[in-house]
Amino acid sequence: MKYALKRILQFMLTMVIVSFLAFLAFDLISGDAATALLGTEATEEALAALREEMGLTRPLPVRYGEWLLGFFTGNLGVSYIYHQSVSELIAPKIAVTLLLSFVSFLLIVLISIPLGLSAAKRSGGILEASSSAFNQLCMAVPPFFTGMLLSYVFGIMLKWFMPGNFPDLHTDFGGAMKHIFFAAIAIAIPRIAMTVRMLKSTIQSEMRKDYVRTAISRGNDRSAVLRVHVLKNSLVPVISFLAQTMAEIVAGGIVVEQVFSIPGLGRMLVSSISNRDYPVVQAIIVILALWVVLSGTLADLVNQRIDPRLRLGGDR
Protein backbone atom coordinates (compact mmCIF):
# COMPACT_ATOMS: atom_id res chain seq x y z
CA MET A 1 0.00 0.00 0.00
CA LYS A 2 2.81 2.34 0.89
CA TYR A 3 4.51 1.41 -2.33
CA ALA A 4 1.37 2.11 -4.35
CA LEU A 5 1.00 5.51 -2.74
CA LYS A 6 4.61 6.35 -3.48
CA ARG A 7 4.21 5.24 -7.06
CA ILE A 8 1.07 7.32 -7.54
CA LEU A 9 2.77 10.40 -6.10
CA GLN A 10 5.69 9.78 -8.42
CA PHE A 11 3.24 9.56 -11.32
CA MET A 12 1.67 12.88 -10.43
CA LEU A 13 5.07 14.51 -10.06
CA THR A 14 6.14 13.24 -13.48
CA MET A 15 2.98 14.62 -15.03
CA VAL A 16 3.51 18.01 -13.39
CA ILE A 17 7.07 18.15 -14.73
CA VAL A 18 6.07 16.99 -18.21
CA SER A 19 3.21 19.46 -18.41
CA PHE A 20 5.36 22.30 -17.08
CA LEU A 21 8.03 21.61 -19.67
CA ALA A 22 5.42 21.49 -22.42
CA PHE A 23 3.92 24.75 -21.17
CA LEU A 24 7.23 26.54 -20.77
CA ALA A 25 8.71 25.40 -24.07
CA PHE A 26 5.74 26.48 -26.14
CA ASP A 27 5.27 29.64 -24.11
CA LEU A 28 8.82 30.65 -24.98
CA ILE A 29 8.65 29.98 -28.70
CA SER A 30 5.08 30.82 -29.50
CA GLY A 31 5.86 34.43 -28.70
CA ASP A 32 2.72 36.40 -28.47
CA ALA A 33 -0.56 34.51 -28.56
CA ALA A 34 -2.47 37.73 -29.20
CA THR A 35 -0.52 38.41 -32.40
CA ALA A 36 -0.96 34.82 -33.46
CA LEU A 37 -4.73 35.12 -33.06
CA LEU A 38 -5.27 38.55 -34.57
CA GLY A 39 -2.54 38.52 -37.20
CA THR A 40 0.28 41.00 -37.68
CA GLU A 41 -1.96 43.73 -39.07
CA ALA A 42 -3.93 44.17 -35.85
CA THR A 43 -3.72 47.55 -34.12
CA GLU A 44 -1.67 47.91 -30.97
CA GLU A 45 -4.81 48.73 -28.94
CA ALA A 46 -6.63 45.62 -30.10
CA LEU A 47 -3.62 43.48 -29.23
CA ALA A 48 -3.28 45.01 -25.80
CA ALA A 49 -6.98 44.51 -25.13
CA LEU A 50 -6.84 40.88 -26.17
CA ARG A 51 -3.72 40.27 -24.08
CA GLU A 52 -5.52 41.71 -21.11
CA GLU A 53 -8.60 39.62 -21.85
CA MET A 54 -6.56 36.41 -22.26
CA GLY A 55 -4.63 37.16 -19.10
CA LEU A 56 -1.27 37.13 -20.88
CA THR A 57 0.00 40.01 -18.79
CA ARG A 58 0.07 37.92 -15.66
CA PRO A 59 3.16 36.05 -14.41
CA LEU A 60 4.09 32.67 -15.88
CA PRO A 61 3.45 30.44 -12.83
CA VAL A 62 -0.10 31.78 -12.54
CA ARG A 63 -0.79 31.11 -16.18
CA TYR A 64 0.72 27.62 -15.91
CA GLY A 65 -1.47 26.83 -12.91
CA GLU A 66 -4.54 27.99 -14.74
CA TRP A 67 -3.66 26.02 -17.85
CA LEU A 68 -3.04 22.88 -15.80
CA LEU A 69 -6.40 23.37 -14.13
CA GLY A 70 -7.85 23.60 -17.63
CA PHE A 71 -7.32 19.86 -18.10
CA PHE A 72 -9.96 19.34 -15.43
CA THR A 73 -12.29 22.21 -16.27
CA GLY A 74 -11.94 21.96 -20.03
CA ASN A 75 -10.51 25.44 -20.52
CA LEU A 76 -7.29 24.94 -22.47
CA GLY A 77 -7.22 28.10 -24.50
CA VAL A 78 -8.20 28.84 -28.06
CA SER A 79 -6.77 27.32 -31.23
CA TYR A 80 -4.92 29.85 -33.36
CA ILE A 81 -6.17 28.29 -36.57
CA TYR A 82 -9.71 27.16 -35.88
CA HIS A 83 -10.55 29.94 -33.42
CA GLN A 84 -12.35 27.35 -31.38
CA SER A 85 -11.74 26.19 -27.84
CA VAL A 86 -8.98 23.57 -27.70
CA SER A 87 -10.93 21.21 -25.48
CA GLU A 88 -13.92 21.22 -27.84
CA LEU A 89 -11.55 20.55 -30.70
CA ILE A 90 -9.75 17.57 -29.21
CA ALA A 91 -12.42 15.94 -27.04
CA PRO A 92 -14.03 13.91 -29.88
CA LYS A 93 -10.59 12.82 -31.08
CA ILE A 94 -9.59 11.28 -27.75
CA ALA A 95 -12.13 8.47 -28.06
CA VAL A 96 -10.91 7.57 -31.54
CA THR A 97 -7.26 7.39 -30.47
CA LEU A 98 -8.09 5.45 -27.33
CA LEU A 99 -10.06 2.94 -29.35
CA LEU A 100 -7.22 2.55 -31.85
CA SER A 101 -4.67 2.05 -29.06
CA PHE A 102 -6.90 -0.45 -27.32
CA VAL A 103 -7.52 -2.57 -30.42
CA SER A 104 -3.81 -2.52 -31.30
CA PHE A 105 -2.88 -3.56 -27.79
CA LEU A 106 -5.39 -6.40 -27.84
CA LEU A 107 -4.05 -7.67 -31.16
CA ILE A 108 -0.48 -7.56 -29.89
CA VAL A 109 -1.24 -9.44 -26.69
CA LEU A 110 -3.50 -12.03 -28.28
CA ILE A 111 -1.13 -12.85 -31.13
CA SER A 112 2.31 -12.47 -29.60
CA ILE A 113 1.86 -14.48 -26.41
CA PRO A 114 1.09 -17.84 -28.05
CA LEU A 115 3.71 -17.18 -30.72
CA GLY A 116 6.28 -16.20 -28.11
CA LEU A 117 5.63 -19.32 -26.05
CA SER A 118 6.09 -21.62 -29.01
CA ALA A 119 9.19 -19.72 -30.10
CA ALA A 120 10.67 -20.17 -26.63
CA LYS A 121 10.43 -23.94 -26.95
CA ARG A 122 12.56 -23.92 -30.07
CA SER A 123 16.27 -23.54 -29.70
CA GLY A 124 18.83 -24.13 -32.38
CA GLY A 125 18.16 -25.55 -35.79
CA ILE A 126 17.07 -24.15 -39.10
CA LEU A 127 13.47 -23.58 -37.98
CA GLU A 128 14.56 -21.39 -35.10
CA ALA A 129 16.96 -19.42 -37.28
CA SER A 130 14.43 -18.81 -40.03
CA SER A 131 11.72 -17.75 -37.60
CA SER A 132 14.16 -15.30 -35.99
CA ALA A 133 15.00 -13.93 -39.42
CA PHE A 134 11.30 -13.61 -40.25
CA ASN A 135 10.85 -11.83 -36.95
CA GLN A 136 13.54 -9.32 -37.91
CA LEU A 137 11.80 -8.79 -41.23
CA CYS A 138 8.49 -7.99 -39.50
CA MET A 139 10.28 -5.52 -37.25
CA ALA A 140 11.67 -3.79 -40.34
CA VAL A 141 8.29 -2.96 -41.89
CA PRO A 142 7.28 0.59 -41.01
CA PRO A 143 3.61 0.77 -39.93
CA PHE A 144 2.81 3.45 -42.45
CA PHE A 145 3.97 1.23 -45.29
CA THR A 146 1.85 -1.72 -44.12
CA GLY A 147 -0.99 0.72 -43.61
CA MET A 148 -0.70 1.93 -47.15
CA LEU A 149 -0.84 -1.62 -48.52
CA LEU A 150 -3.73 -2.61 -46.24
CA SER A 151 -5.78 0.45 -47.10
CA TYR A 152 -5.20 -0.19 -50.79
CA VAL A 153 -6.01 -3.90 -50.74
CA PHE A 154 -8.91 -3.88 -48.29
CA GLY A 155 -10.11 -0.34 -48.92
CA ILE A 156 -9.74 0.43 -52.62
CA MET A 157 -9.70 -3.07 -54.09
CA LEU A 158 -12.01 -5.06 -51.83
CA LYS A 159 -14.01 -2.01 -50.71
CA TRP A 160 -14.39 -3.25 -47.15
CA PHE A 161 -13.99 0.31 -45.98
CA MET A 162 -13.57 3.71 -47.60
CA PRO A 163 -10.11 5.09 -46.84
CA GLY A 164 -10.31 8.77 -46.03
CA ASN A 165 -13.99 8.56 -45.20
CA PHE A 166 -14.03 7.83 -41.49
CA PRO A 167 -17.64 7.57 -40.29
CA ASP A 168 -18.87 9.21 -37.13
CA LEU A 169 -18.11 7.03 -34.14
CA HIS A 170 -21.59 7.39 -32.64
CA THR A 171 -23.75 6.92 -35.71
CA ASP A 172 -21.74 4.17 -37.42
CA PHE A 173 -19.62 2.38 -34.85
CA GLY A 174 -19.16 -0.75 -36.97
CA GLY A 175 -17.97 1.23 -39.97
CA ALA A 176 -15.52 3.16 -37.82
CA MET A 177 -14.25 -0.08 -36.29
CA LYS A 178 -13.31 -1.40 -39.76
CA HIS A 179 -10.95 1.55 -40.25
CA ILE A 180 -9.60 1.15 -36.76
CA PHE A 181 -9.08 -2.59 -37.14
CA PHE A 182 -6.89 -2.31 -40.23
CA ALA A 183 -4.96 0.60 -38.77
CA ALA A 184 -4.40 -1.48 -35.63
CA ILE A 185 -2.98 -4.34 -37.72
CA ALA A 186 -0.47 -1.96 -39.27
CA ILE A 187 0.59 -0.72 -35.85
CA ALA A 188 0.68 -4.20 -34.35
CA ILE A 189 2.86 -6.14 -36.83
CA PRO A 190 6.33 -4.82 -35.89
CA ARG A 191 5.34 -4.70 -32.24
CA ILE A 192 4.18 -8.33 -32.28
CA ALA A 193 7.57 -9.30 -33.69
CA MET A 194 9.34 -7.40 -30.90
CA THR A 195 7.12 -8.90 -28.21
CA VAL A 196 7.69 -12.44 -29.50
CA ARG A 197 11.43 -11.86 -29.46
CA MET A 198 11.29 -10.43 -25.97
CA LEU A 199 9.13 -13.27 -24.66
CA LYS A 200 11.44 -15.82 -26.19
CA SER A 201 14.59 -14.41 -24.64
CA THR A 202 12.94 -13.83 -21.25
CA ILE A 203 11.57 -17.35 -21.04
CA GLN A 204 14.76 -18.93 -22.32
CA SER A 205 16.94 -17.11 -19.82
CA GLU A 206 14.50 -18.10 -17.06
CA MET A 207 14.67 -21.72 -18.26
CA ARG A 208 18.44 -21.71 -17.71
CA LYS A 209 18.04 -20.99 -13.99
CA ASP A 210 18.82 -23.51 -11.29
CA TYR A 211 15.29 -23.99 -10.00
CA VAL A 212 14.13 -25.08 -13.45
CA ARG A 213 16.91 -27.63 -13.70
CA THR A 214 16.00 -28.89 -10.23
CA ALA A 215 12.34 -29.16 -11.11
CA ILE A 216 13.09 -31.08 -14.29
CA SER A 217 15.64 -33.32 -12.62
CA ARG A 218 13.00 -34.29 -10.07
CA GLY A 219 11.04 -35.79 -12.89
CA ASN A 220 8.64 -33.01 -13.74
CA ASP A 221 7.41 -32.65 -17.25
CA ARG A 222 9.18 -29.87 -19.22
CA SER A 223 6.03 -28.17 -20.40
CA ALA A 224 4.49 -28.39 -16.93
CA VAL A 225 7.54 -26.65 -15.47
CA LEU A 226 7.20 -24.00 -18.15
CA ARG A 227 3.54 -23.51 -17.41
CA VAL A 228 3.63 -23.61 -13.64
CA HIS A 229 6.95 -22.01 -12.67
CA VAL A 230 8.60 -20.24 -15.56
CA LEU A 231 5.62 -18.30 -16.85
CA LYS A 232 4.89 -16.85 -13.44
CA ASN A 233 8.46 -15.69 -13.03
CA SER A 234 8.60 -14.25 -16.53
CA LEU A 235 5.49 -12.19 -15.96
CA VAL A 236 7.09 -9.11 -14.39
CA PRO A 237 9.45 -8.15 -17.22
CA VAL A 238 6.72 -8.99 -19.73
CA ILE A 239 4.26 -6.61 -18.09
CA SER A 240 6.86 -3.85 -18.05
CA PHE A 241 7.47 -4.52 -21.72
CA LEU A 242 3.77 -4.34 -22.50
CA ALA A 243 3.60 -0.93 -20.84
CA GLN A 244 6.42 0.19 -23.10
CA THR A 245 4.38 -1.26 -25.95
CA MET A 246 1.56 1.11 -25.07
CA ALA A 247 3.98 3.99 -25.61
CA GLU A 248 4.99 2.57 -28.96
CA ILE A 249 1.35 2.19 -29.96
CA VAL A 250 0.81 5.87 -29.26
CA ALA A 251 3.79 6.64 -31.48
CA GLY A 252 2.65 4.28 -34.21
CA GLY A 253 -0.82 5.77 -34.02
CA ILE A 254 0.46 9.26 -34.81
CA VAL A 255 1.68 8.04 -38.19
CA VAL A 256 -0.95 5.43 -38.96
CA GLU A 257 -3.85 7.80 -38.28
CA GLN A 258 -2.37 9.87 -41.08
CA VAL A 259 -2.23 6.89 -43.47
CA PHE A 260 -5.84 5.90 -42.89
CA SER A 261 -7.06 9.49 -42.44
CA ILE A 262 -8.43 8.58 -39.03
CA PRO A 263 -9.36 11.78 -37.21
CA GLY A 264 -7.56 11.08 -33.93
CA LEU A 265 -5.18 12.97 -31.69
CA GLY A 266 -2.13 11.99 -33.76
CA ARG A 267 -3.49 13.45 -36.97
CA MET A 268 -4.51 16.60 -35.15
CA LEU A 269 -1.04 16.82 -33.56
CA VAL A 270 0.74 16.63 -36.91
CA SER A 271 -1.47 19.20 -38.60
CA SER A 272 -1.17 21.51 -35.60
CA ILE A 273 2.62 21.25 -35.69
CA SER A 274 2.64 22.18 -39.37
CA ASN A 275 0.25 25.06 -38.67
CA ARG A 276 2.15 26.16 -35.58
CA ASP A 277 -1.08 25.96 -33.64
CA TYR A 278 0.72 25.77 -30.29
CA PRO A 279 -2.21 25.62 -27.83
CA VAL A 280 -3.44 22.47 -29.58
CA VAL A 281 0.06 20.94 -29.76
CA GLN A 282 0.60 21.60 -26.04
CA ALA A 283 -2.65 19.99 -25.01
CA ILE A 284 -2.26 16.91 -27.20
CA ILE A 285 1.30 16.30 -26.06
CA VAL A 286 0.26 16.38 -22.43
CA ILE A 287 -2.65 14.02 -23.10
CA LEU A 288 -0.46 11.52 -24.99
CA ALA A 289 2.18 11.78 -22.26
CA LEU A 290 -0.48 11.14 -19.63
CA TRP A 291 -1.51 8.00 -21.49
CA VAL A 292 2.08 6.75 -21.68
CA VAL A 293 3.04 7.57 -18.09
CA LEU A 294 -0.23 6.14 -16.81
CA SER A 295 0.37 2.77 -18.48
CA GLY A 296 3.86 2.67 -17.02
CA THR A 297 2.50 3.39 -13.56
CA LEU A 298 -0.22 0.76 -13.87
CA ALA A 299 2.35 -1.81 -14.99
CA ASP A 300 4.49 -1.05 -11.93
CA LEU A 301 1.50 -1.34 -9.63
CA VAL A 302 0.49 -4.68 -11.13
CA ASN A 303 4.07 -5.90 -10.93
CA GLN A 304 4.42 -5.16 -7.25
CA ARG A 305 1.23 -7.15 -6.65
CA ILE A 306 2.79 -10.09 -8.48
CA ASP A 307 6.29 -9.86 -7.07
CA PRO A 308 6.43 -8.93 -3.38
CA ARG A 309 10.16 -8.19 -3.62
CA LEU A 310 9.35 -5.07 -5.59
CA ARG A 311 7.27 -3.76 -2.71
CA LEU A 312 10.37 -3.61 -0.55
CA GLY A 313 11.92 -1.27 -3.05
CA GLY A 314 14.12 -3.96 -4.49
CA ASP A 315 15.08 -3.86 -8.12
CA ARG A 316 14.96 -6.76 -10.49
Partner: protein, 270 residues
Protein backbone atom coordinates in the same frame (compact mmCIF):
# COMPACT_ATOMS: atom_id res chain seq x y z
CA UNK B 1 31.49 -22.15 -28.89
CA UNK B 2 32.68 -18.72 -29.97
CA UNK B 3 32.11 -18.37 -33.66
CA UNK B 4 33.38 -15.31 -35.44
CA UNK B 5 30.74 -15.38 -38.16
CA UNK B 6 27.19 -16.61 -38.29
CA UNK B 7 24.46 -16.70 -40.88
CA UNK B 8 22.68 -13.66 -39.48
CA UNK B 9 25.79 -11.54 -39.49
CA UNK B 10 26.73 -12.68 -42.98
CA UNK B 11 23.29 -12.09 -44.51
CA UNK B 12 22.96 -8.76 -42.74
CA UNK B 13 26.36 -7.56 -43.88
CA UNK B 14 25.60 -8.65 -47.45
CA UNK B 15 22.27 -6.78 -47.61
CA UNK B 16 23.60 -3.69 -45.86
CA UNK B 17 26.77 -3.73 -47.95
CA UNK B 18 24.85 -3.85 -51.22
CA UNK B 19 22.49 -1.08 -50.16
CA UNK B 20 25.31 1.10 -48.88
CA UNK B 21 27.17 0.61 -52.16
CA UNK B 22 24.05 1.63 -54.11
CA UNK B 23 23.56 4.67 -51.85
CA UNK B 24 27.18 5.76 -52.18
CA UNK B 25 26.96 5.27 -55.94
CA UNK B 26 23.81 7.41 -55.88
CA UNK B 27 25.74 10.37 -54.50
CA UNK B 28 27.89 10.51 -57.65
CA UNK B 29 25.89 8.70 -60.34
CA UNK B 30 22.26 7.72 -60.92
CA UNK B 31 20.89 6.05 -64.08
CA UNK B 32 18.85 9.18 -64.83
CA UNK B 33 18.68 12.67 -63.39
CA UNK B 34 16.32 12.09 -60.43
CA UNK B 35 14.60 15.41 -61.09
CA UNK B 36 14.32 15.11 -64.87
CA UNK B 37 10.69 15.01 -65.93
CA UNK B 38 9.43 13.43 -69.09
CA UNK B 39 5.93 13.96 -70.40
CA UNK B 40 6.01 10.88 -72.59
CA UNK B 41 7.21 8.49 -69.88
CA UNK B 42 4.64 9.02 -67.12
CA UNK B 43 3.58 6.03 -65.00
CA UNK B 44 5.80 3.52 -66.75
CA UNK B 45 5.71 0.09 -65.11
CA UNK B 46 9.07 -1.42 -64.19
CA UNK B 47 10.95 -2.35 -67.37
CA UNK B 48 14.56 -2.69 -68.50
CA UNK B 49 15.06 1.05 -68.98
CA UNK B 50 13.38 1.90 -65.67
CA UNK B 51 13.80 -1.06 -63.27
CA UNK B 52 11.56 0.61 -60.65
CA UNK B 53 9.27 2.33 -63.19
CA UNK B 54 8.49 6.04 -63.38
CA UNK B 55 6.21 8.39 -61.44
CA UNK B 56 3.55 10.95 -62.37
CA UNK B 57 6.15 13.34 -63.80
CA UNK B 58 7.97 10.62 -65.71
CA UNK B 59 10.88 10.69 -63.28
CA UNK B 60 12.93 7.52 -62.95
CA UNK B 61 12.04 5.97 -59.58
CA UNK B 62 15.26 3.98 -59.21
CA UNK B 63 17.29 7.19 -59.45
CA UNK B 64 14.98 8.92 -57.00
CA UNK B 65 15.16 6.00 -54.57
CA UNK B 66 18.96 6.00 -54.74
CA UNK B 67 19.04 9.70 -53.84
CA UNK B 68 16.24 9.41 -51.28
CA UNK B 69 17.78 6.41 -49.54
CA UNK B 70 20.96 8.49 -49.31
CA UNK B 71 19.10 11.25 -47.45
CA UNK B 72 17.51 8.76 -45.07
CA UNK B 73 20.79 6.90 -44.61
CA UNK B 74 22.87 9.98 -43.82
CA UNK B 75 20.27 11.42 -41.46
CA UNK B 76 20.21 8.07 -39.65
CA UNK B 77 24.01 7.83 -39.47
CA UNK B 78 24.36 11.39 -38.15
CA UNK B 79 21.57 10.81 -35.66
CA UNK B 80 23.16 7.65 -34.29
CA UNK B 81 26.52 9.39 -34.19
CA UNK B 82 25.11 12.24 -32.08
CA UNK B 83 23.23 9.81 -29.86
CA UNK B 84 26.14 7.40 -29.44
CA UNK B 85 28.85 10.00 -28.80
CA UNK B 86 26.93 12.15 -26.33
CA UNK B 87 25.06 9.22 -24.83
CA UNK B 88 28.24 7.25 -24.25
CA UNK B 89 29.97 10.29 -22.78
CA UNK B 90 27.07 10.87 -20.39
CA UNK B 91 26.81 7.18 -19.55
CA UNK B 92 30.56 6.89 -18.98
CA UNK B 93 30.77 9.90 -16.67
CA UNK B 94 27.67 9.10 -14.63
CA UNK B 95 28.36 5.39 -14.52
CA UNK B 96 32.01 5.68 -13.56
CA UNK B 97 31.82 8.52 -11.07
CA UNK B 98 28.30 7.96 -9.73
CA UNK B 99 27.03 10.37 -7.12
CA UNK B 100 24.21 12.87 -7.16
CA UNK B 101 24.68 13.84 -10.82
CA UNK B 102 24.20 10.20 -11.68
CA UNK B 103 20.97 10.01 -9.69
CA UNK B 104 19.49 13.14 -11.20
CA UNK B 105 20.49 12.34 -14.77
CA UNK B 106 19.21 8.80 -14.52
CA UNK B 107 15.81 9.88 -13.24
CA UNK B 108 15.59 12.33 -16.12
CA UNK B 109 16.67 9.53 -18.40
CA UNK B 110 13.94 7.23 -17.09
CA UNK B 111 11.34 9.86 -17.83
CA UNK B 112 12.69 10.50 -21.32
CA UNK B 113 13.10 6.87 -22.40
CA UNK B 114 9.53 6.19 -21.35
CA UNK B 115 8.40 8.33 -24.26
CA UNK B 116 8.32 7.01 -27.78
CA UNK B 117 11.13 8.60 -29.76
CA UNK B 118 8.90 9.94 -32.49
CA UNK B 119 6.69 11.82 -30.04
CA UNK B 120 9.74 13.49 -28.46
CA UNK B 121 11.20 14.23 -31.86
CA UNK B 122 7.93 15.80 -32.94
CA UNK B 123 8.00 18.03 -29.86
CA UNK B 124 11.56 19.12 -30.62
CA UNK B 125 10.70 19.64 -34.30
CA UNK B 126 7.70 21.74 -33.47
CA UNK B 127 9.85 23.85 -31.14
CA UNK B 128 12.56 24.36 -33.77
CA UNK B 129 10.29 24.70 -36.77
CA UNK B 130 9.25 21.90 -39.11
CA UNK B 131 10.57 21.18 -42.59
CA UNK B 132 14.31 21.65 -42.17
CA UNK B 133 16.63 18.72 -42.68
CA UNK B 134 19.21 19.65 -40.06
CA UNK B 135 16.44 20.15 -37.51
CA UNK B 136 15.42 16.53 -38.02
CA UNK B 137 18.99 15.39 -37.40
CA UNK B 138 19.19 17.50 -34.25
CA UNK B 139 15.79 16.42 -32.96
CA UNK B 140 16.38 12.72 -33.52
CA UNK B 141 19.95 12.95 -32.25
CA UNK B 142 18.80 14.57 -29.02
CA UNK B 143 16.09 11.98 -28.62
CA UNK B 144 18.55 9.11 -29.02
CA UNK B 145 21.02 10.29 -26.37
CA UNK B 146 19.17 8.85 -23.33
CA UNK B 147 18.96 5.28 -24.57
CA UNK B 148 22.68 5.19 -25.33
CA UNK B 149 23.43 6.77 -21.98
CA UNK B 150 21.44 4.10 -20.20
CA UNK B 151 23.15 1.20 -21.93
CA UNK B 152 26.69 2.49 -21.48
CA UNK B 153 26.11 3.65 -17.93
CA UNK B 154 25.43 0.09 -16.82
CA UNK B 155 28.57 -1.15 -18.56
CA UNK B 156 30.77 1.57 -17.08
CA UNK B 157 29.29 1.24 -13.61
CA UNK B 158 29.96 -2.49 -13.53
CA UNK B 159 33.51 -2.03 -14.78
CA UNK B 160 34.31 0.48 -12.05
CA UNK B 161 35.12 -2.05 -9.36
CA UNK B 162 36.68 -4.74 -11.49
CA UNK B 163 40.24 -5.65 -10.53
CA UNK B 164 42.03 -4.63 -13.68
CA UNK B 165 40.48 -1.16 -13.44
CA UNK B 166 41.47 -0.91 -9.79
CA UNK B 167 45.05 -1.85 -10.62
CA UNK B 168 45.11 0.62 -13.50
CA UNK B 169 44.05 3.27 -11.00
CA UNK B 170 46.76 2.18 -8.57
CA UNK B 171 49.33 2.43 -11.31
CA UNK B 172 48.36 6.06 -11.60
CA UNK B 173 46.37 6.03 -14.83
CA UNK B 174 44.23 9.12 -15.27
CA UNK B 175 40.45 8.81 -15.23
CA UNK B 176 40.30 9.82 -18.87
CA UNK B 177 42.72 7.08 -19.83
CA UNK B 178 40.85 4.47 -17.81
CA UNK B 179 37.53 5.46 -19.38
CA UNK B 180 38.75 5.62 -22.96
CA UNK B 181 41.48 3.01 -23.15
CA UNK B 182 40.45 0.43 -20.58
CA UNK B 183 36.68 0.45 -20.25
CA UNK B 184 35.37 1.73 -23.58
CA UNK B 185 36.68 -1.17 -25.69
CA UNK B 186 35.03 -3.56 -23.26
CA UNK B 187 31.65 -1.94 -23.69
CA UNK B 188 31.62 -2.69 -27.42
CA UNK B 189 29.63 -5.87 -26.94
CA UNK B 190 26.69 -3.84 -25.64
CA UNK B 191 27.39 -0.71 -27.65
CA UNK B 192 27.44 -2.34 -31.09
CA UNK B 193 24.00 -3.96 -30.84
CA UNK B 194 22.60 -0.67 -29.50
CA UNK B 195 24.07 1.12 -32.47
CA UNK B 196 22.32 -1.25 -34.86
CA UNK B 197 19.03 -0.85 -32.99
CA UNK B 198 19.52 2.91 -32.85
CA UNK B 199 20.23 3.07 -36.57
CA UNK B 200 17.04 1.19 -37.35
CA UNK B 201 14.96 3.34 -35.05
CA UNK B 202 16.49 6.39 -36.68
CA UNK B 203 15.65 5.18 -40.19
CA UNK B 204 12.08 4.39 -39.19
CA UNK B 205 11.64 7.64 -37.26
CA UNK B 206 13.09 9.72 -40.08
CA UNK B 207 10.90 7.96 -42.62
CA UNK B 208 7.82 8.48 -40.44
CA UNK B 209 8.56 12.14 -39.90
CA UNK B 210 9.18 12.92 -43.54
CA UNK B 211 6.08 10.89 -44.39
CA UNK B 212 4.17 13.18 -42.03
CA UNK B 213 5.67 16.17 -43.80
CA UNK B 214 7.63 17.47 -40.79
CA UNK B 215 10.92 15.86 -41.72
CA UNK B 216 13.51 16.54 -44.38
CA UNK B 217 12.69 19.26 -46.90
CA UNK B 218 11.12 18.01 -50.13
CA UNK B 219 14.18 19.15 -52.12
CA UNK B 220 16.27 16.42 -50.53
CA UNK B 221 13.39 13.97 -50.71
CA UNK B 222 13.88 11.11 -48.31
CA UNK B 223 12.23 7.71 -48.57
CA UNK B 224 9.41 8.66 -46.21
CA UNK B 225 8.50 11.74 -48.21
CA UNK B 226 8.54 9.69 -51.39
CA UNK B 227 6.17 7.17 -49.82
CA UNK B 228 3.70 9.90 -48.91
CA UNK B 229 3.86 11.00 -52.56
CA UNK B 230 3.48 7.41 -53.72
CA UNK B 231 0.39 6.84 -51.58
CA UNK B 232 -1.52 9.36 -53.68
CA UNK B 233 -0.82 7.46 -56.89
CA UNK B 234 -1.01 3.93 -55.57
CA UNK B 235 -3.76 3.05 -58.04
CA UNK B 236 -1.83 4.35 -61.07
CA UNK B 237 1.71 3.41 -60.07
CA UNK B 238 1.80 0.84 -57.24
CA UNK B 239 5.46 0.11 -58.04
CA UNK B 240 6.41 3.55 -56.72
CA UNK B 241 5.22 2.76 -53.19
CA UNK B 242 6.30 -0.88 -53.34
CA UNK B 243 9.86 -0.20 -54.48
CA UNK B 244 10.35 2.69 -52.07
CA UNK B 245 8.87 0.76 -49.17
CA UNK B 246 10.91 -2.33 -50.01
CA UNK B 247 14.11 -0.29 -49.82
CA UNK B 248 13.21 0.97 -46.32
CA UNK B 249 12.37 -2.57 -45.23
CA UNK B 250 15.62 -3.97 -46.63
CA UNK B 251 17.70 -1.21 -45.06
CA UNK B 252 16.23 -1.88 -41.62
CA UNK B 253 16.15 -5.65 -42.11
CA UNK B 254 19.83 -5.83 -43.07
CA UNK B 255 20.99 -3.86 -40.07
CA UNK B 256 18.58 -5.80 -37.86
CA UNK B 257 20.18 -9.05 -38.98
CA UNK B 258 23.61 -7.64 -38.16
CA UNK B 259 22.37 -6.79 -34.68
CA UNK B 260 20.86 -10.23 -34.21
CA UNK B 261 24.10 -11.81 -35.44
CA UNK B 262 26.20 -9.72 -33.05
CA UNK B 263 24.02 -10.64 -30.10
CA UNK B 264 24.16 -14.32 -30.94
CA UNK B 265 27.93 -14.16 -31.28
CA UNK B 266 28.20 -12.61 -27.82
CA UNK B 267 25.70 -14.59 -25.85
CA UNK B 268 25.25 -17.94 -27.54
CA UNK B 269 21.75 -18.44 -28.91
CA UNK B 270 18.92 -16.12 -28.00
Amino acid sequence: MKKKMNGFLLAGLAITGLLTAAILLGTVWTPYDPAAMSGSEKYLAPCLQHPFGTDNFGRDILSRVMKGAGTTFFIAVLTVLIGAVFGTAAGALTGYFGGIVDDVLMRLNDALTAFPSILLALVVISLMGPGKTYNVVLALGLVFIPSFARVTRTAFASARDVNYIKSARLMGASSGRILLVHILPNTMNVLLPSITIGFNNAVLAEASMSYLGVGATPTDASLGYMLSEAQGMFGRAPWYALCTGAVIVLLVFGVGLIGEGLQRREGGVG
